[in-house]
């Protein structure tokens, strides 16, 4: 079983330019990720630059990043514990509202 990550543009500088990363064909590391959390561990092991962009040092996925398995936002399917179906497609999607609310917060001091 392998799963595929869709990598958004800003993170591709940390994935050797790849827009899709397949997890499962890389030998020992998380050969068959059962959960989203396993798949992320594997992705971050291969491309460590992605980890700190996606997650805080406390391991939380950053506030304005949404993760989808197929077309479902994992927020409603169990978060990082979401079980992955065979050949799952995982999308990392920066939230559009991120920039907006950021601008509002930062414009007042």
């Amino acid at each position: 079983m392998s799963v595929t990550f869709h990598i958004p543009g800003p993170l591709r500088q940390f994935t050797n330019g790849l827009s899709h990363v397949e997890i499962g064909d890389i030998g020992g590391i998380a050969a068959s990720p059962a959960t989203l959390s396993d798949a992320l561990e594997a992705l971050w092991a291969i491309y460590p630059g992605v980890r700190d962009r996606m997650a805080t040092e406390q391991g939380q996925i950053r506030e304005h990043i949404n993760l989808f398995v197929g077309n479902e936002n994992v927020r409603y399917t169990g978060g990082l514990a979401t079980a992955l179906p065979e050949s799952a497609e995982i999308s990392i999607v920066p939230a559009i509202s991120g920039g907006l609310s950021f601008g509002q917060i930062r414009s007042v001091r």
Binding site: F14, I46, D52, T56, G98
Partner: protein, 685 residues
């Protein structure tokens, strides 16, 4: 040729022959040492202009001096024959050592680090190799790698891509192509001139070849090879090769130059990281310390010379760099760097011969990273791993970096960062690694600090130049804290500073201090701009006196110290905490020249009607020239400057995103900054 004399070199024996010409071992009869002399064939140099260029470039490469570069001693011409005199390197070529099964990984890493170091040295001097290949690397009996033929390849084979695609016969039909084509980067094959990154591609090919024992891009014809280079992925490397090394090679062999490492130093660091991982235990899946670098090509950059004045302007949507001569009459602008990211802290580190810019970049989505540039903004590091991280057991995570502060001149590798949530980070290796200052983070007051409007931030750091154990920090809203044991322990230092928003007006801590400043010549004195209130301390922050008399408002953020006069401070008051704009719609800088006994408004050249500007806490700075230059930028995106200590002002730049940080630097040694008496262009009579 044998026994002939070229200049003062007696030819001893023939060592080899290549596309470029014949290489001889020769005796330098003056210095009594053996050298290698390459006599360049007429075929290789072609017409006169090509010859001139070759001469020029060979002379440039003779400026390279590095243990892993074969030194070019001399370039000469005798009887119409061009010859290059080089260091005589005893040893075998790397290609001969690889021969078939590749090298042990330790050797690949060891040679790789050295070759990358050689490239970093030459690239730092704008010399691109352009023909790096395993047969151009010699390995001495002591295991030292020496890169040969630096910068010589460029003009020798004019238009290799055209030749490569024209020559469709078997590989051995053209010796010049065989040695070179498999190392050529895709962009070079597409006709681009190639740059440092094309050398890094070639380095990737050499590393692959050394690890696997065969070239990554193979084919029976030049067409097949070209096609493999431009379109195909190299065959997987054998399983015993550490994943970290695979990752480095893979990154060097990214088809797009922008996806590769951008600097040879990064490849060197990445290989070293794999080396140390291999030595210390389990092999890392990749090199977490490796750097990605953003190269900004289509953007305007500044060209900086010694003695220039530099302004670093951080905004909520990116950063700008401005440079001028010491006259400060005209400013050249570079940027915007870090599109869309907020840059709250910038700094220039010129200590220890460095020319390093620092910038904190905060992305709303991807987090906050501290980045640096050693070439005035053309390239910036983008560390794989976030460089400032709270420890896992702290429960905190970094929101923003508000201040980058250099350590004292006698501690050239010390740097500090003030961050949000309020904490101090320190580096003792010039920014390579950072650690949380636990003395302050574990302070019993910390749970009772409350966020100001901009968050709970440590925004100002002031090391005492006369006492290496003493340092001040300012926290909003926690107040001023000082240490007398180099950061081991801290105590609040807010006696006399009023807090309007608490029932007890003079608490031990909890003050919302906006800025503090100190003059290095008088370190016991500090100035403080508070959330309501302007103060001075003459006893090292033990007590504070109100000095706001004569100001239109004692609310404000920015504060800049005069470079020479410890009694002179510039501030920019705003009306109130509810209306954080310049009072009465007038943009006025206030200056005291008697340590706060009186204040004068500086308005010439500044709009005095309908201007509601907000200049934030790091939005003003004063350069060290004489007369001092004062600069500030605010939320309206206008940058103002004065080169006569505030007497008259001019708009330097407008239309910027909201400015949050303005910092200055004089580049090079301070004494190199010539203080011209020239009158700024706009004011010449």
């Amino acid at each position: 040729m044998i026994d002939q004399v070229l200049g003062h070199y007696r030819i001893l024996s023939k060592i080899g022959e290549g596309g470029m010409g014949v290489v001889y071992r020769a005796r330098d009869e003056v210095l009594q040492r053996d050298v290698a002399v390459k006599v360049v064939s007429e075929r290789a140099t072609g017409d006169t202009s090509a010859r001139e260029l070759l001469l020029h470039e060979a002379r440039a490469s003779s400026s390279l001096s590095h243990p892993n570069i074969c030194t070019v001693h001399e370039v000469g011409e005798i009887g119409g024959e061009l010859y290059i005199v080089m260091e005589f390197v005893e040893g075998k070529s790397l290609s001969a050592l690889i021969a078939g099964d590749g090298l042990p990984c330790e050797s690949v890493l060891r040679y790789g680090v050295q070759i990358a170091g050689a490239l970093a040295h030459s690239h730092g001097r704008s010399i691109v190799h352009r023909d790096l290949k395993s047969s151009n690397v010699a390995i001495t009996p002591d295991g030292l790698a020496k890169v040969l033929d630096f910068g010589l390849a460029r003009r020798l084979f004019t238009g290799p891509p055209a030749e490569a695609t024209r020559t469709l016969g078997p590989l051995d039909s053209d010796a010049r192509i065989v040695g070179t084509l498999p190392y050529m980067a895709p962009e070079v094959l597409r006709g681009a001139a190639g740059d440092e990154r094309s050398d890094l591609w070639a380095l990737g090919v050499v590393l692959y070849e050394a690890a696997a024992g065969q070239l990554p891009f193979r084919g029976r014809t030049t067409f097949e090879i070209t096609s493999a280079i431009t379109h195909e992925l190299p065959p997987p490397l054998p399983g015993w090769i550490p994943r970290g090394l695979c990752a480095v090679i893979q990154r060097c062999l990214a088809k797009e130059p922008a996806q590769r490492y951008q600097r040879a130093g990064e490849v060197q660091a990445a290989l070293e990281a794999v080396q140390s991982a291999a030595m210390t235990g389990p092999v890392l899946p990749s090199d977490p310390k490796g750097f990605a670098t953003t190269v900004l090509r289509s953007m305007r950059h500044i060209e900086v010379k010694n003695g220039d004045v530099l302004l670093m302007v951080g905004t909520v949507k990116g950063a700008f760099l401005l440079r001028s001569t010491a006259a400060r009459a005209r400013w050249e602008v570079g940027g915007p760097y870090f599109h869309g990211q907020a840059v709250y802290a910038m700094a220039y580190d010129g200590r220890h011969g460095r020319h390093r810019l620092w910038a904190s970049t905060q992305s709303a989505i991807w987090g906050t990273i501290l980045r640096s540039s050693d070439d005035f903004g053309k390239t910036w590091t983008n560390p794989m791993e976030a460089n400032l991280k709270f420890p896992a057991d702290s429960g905190a995570s970094l929101k923003n970096i508000w201040q980058v502060c250099l350590g004292r001149p006698e501690e050239p590798d010390v740097l500090y960062c003030g961050v949000e949530p309020a904490a101090l980070f320190e580096s003792h290796d010039a920014g390579e690694s950072w650690a949380l200052n636990c003395g302050l983070f574990d302070h019993p007051h910390r749970p009772r600090w409350t966020p100001g409007n901009g968050g709970l931030t440590l925004h100002t750091i002031v090391p005492d130049p006369s006492n290496r154990r003493r340092m001040y920090v300012a926290i909003s809203a926690g107040g001023v804290y000082l240490t007398d044991d180099a950061g081991g322990s801290w105590r609040a230092a807010n006696h006399g500073v009023r807090v309007v928003f608490m029932p007890g007006k003079y608490p031990e801590f909890g003050q919302c201090v906006h800025k503090i400043a100190m003059h290095p010549a008088r370190p016991e004195r500090l100035f403080l701009q508070n959330h309501w209130g302007v103060y001075r301390s003459d006893d090292g922050a033990e007590s504070w006196q109100d000095i706001a008399r004569g100001l239109p408002s004692d609310f404000g953020f920015a504060m800049a110290m005069h470079p020479r006069d410890p009694d002179c401070v510039f501030i920019l008051p705003v009306e109130s905490d509810e209306f954080r704009c310049t009072p009465d719609g007038r943009l006025r800088v206030y200056r005291t020249r008697n340590a706060g006994a009186s204040w004068e408004a500086l308005t010439r050249g500044l709009p005095q009607k309908g201007t509601y500007e907000t200049v934030l806490r790091d939005g003003m700075t004063a350069d060290p020239l004489d007369p001092a230059g004062i600069y500030f930028g605010g939320r309206s995106g206008i940058l103002y400057g004065s080169v006569d200590e505030g007497k008259t002002w001019k708009k330097i730049l407008d239309g910027l995103p909201a400015v949050v940080c303005v910092k200055h630097a004089v580049v090079g040694e301070p004494r190199a900054a010539k203080q011209t008496k020239q009158v700024p262009a706009g004011r010449r009579r």
